[in-house]
Symmetry: C2
Subunit: 211 residues, 2 copies
Amino acid sequence: MIGTLIIISSPSGGGKGTLIKEILPRIPDLRYSVSFTTRAMREGEVDGHDYHFITRDEFDRRIADGEFLEYAEVHGNYYGTSREQVAKETDAGRDIILEIDVQGAELVMRRFPDALSVFILPPSFAILRERLAARGTENPESLTLRLRNSWGEVEKYGLFKYVVINDEVEPAANALETVILAERMRSIRQKARVQDILDSFDASKNNDPGD
Amino acid sequence: MIGTLIIISSPSGGGKGTLIKEILPRIPDLRYSVSFTTRAMREGEVDGHDYHFITRDEFDRRIADGEFLEYAEVHGNYYGTSREQVAKETDAGRDIILEIDVQGAELVMRRFPDALSVFILPPSFAILRERLAARGTENPESLTLRLRNSWGEVEKYGLFKYVVINDEVEPAANALETVILAERMRSIRQKARVQDILDSFDASKNNDPGD
């Protein structure tokens, strides 16, 4: 059985990180892809947990060695998804979440059309601006850049299979959880389990069914 | 907004009726398509609620008048889905469940490829036989016929988007509920709501985004 690649994206400040933290402990056999990044560590972040924080040189070396499933420059920093970690988890039948920017998501969705893709949409532009400002991690230029980029990003929601409107954390996390659990019920994802059941029907054909 | 057509099918005795009764009161704005049938009413059934019980002549009249979205002869009885009820509910933006045999489901899925389709699969042939026998509604010939038909029916599971394995009622009902709720989060089902949000991003373009 192959695990599902789950692509979760949003504009910067859209709340994808918060929602993912909320649902990870709720769903069994669900992993999180720890990205590599050249951006500075924010307060509270842990190297190897939130991101693998590396230098630009190290990032270039990994690009050259083909270690990234996708990578992108976003707001002046580089972000990349580990090909190895994703392969390891999905080969073991576990679902893995890729928390990526819209640009990176587009690439991965094109390469993996069977992936489960979810766009996290803030309930309005005003609320996105409020949340980004409240986070206090961006200087005014960076804040403006992120908000400008959000204009084009939200218009791409239709490329994603699902949209979760992130008005309040709890209902939005429930919606995200629902979408991930439903994916596990897809016919194409249950072939192995279903085959065992079909075998029991096959076996019964040797007898009169009423017996 | 257009409601979703939800096709729920299984072999006879697969438990689709029980699961649907379980989830109907849990999900808001979800309706049940009351089929027309020529089969005899079973104990506990209510005309107009479980089915509209009609004569063979009346059934033929409705076929001739094009009143059925689909109809099929199953185990010697006729079953038909009311075109009018389905249109009324989906036009009003409400999701509607069609509980139909595998034959009828195939027809409706072909005509409505965007429908949400769910196959309810018993956990084994032996358990399907037990459940059908325990129901006590079939004579031995009818029981044998239903079990014989189940062989071909379970092999069609792959035509359905989702499979819910009906081992125990509670987890199976939760799975079915999850699949129906997830469908409401699809990008294509949320266009109207998303458009209002995109408009707030559009409006912000007249100002500097940092303001």
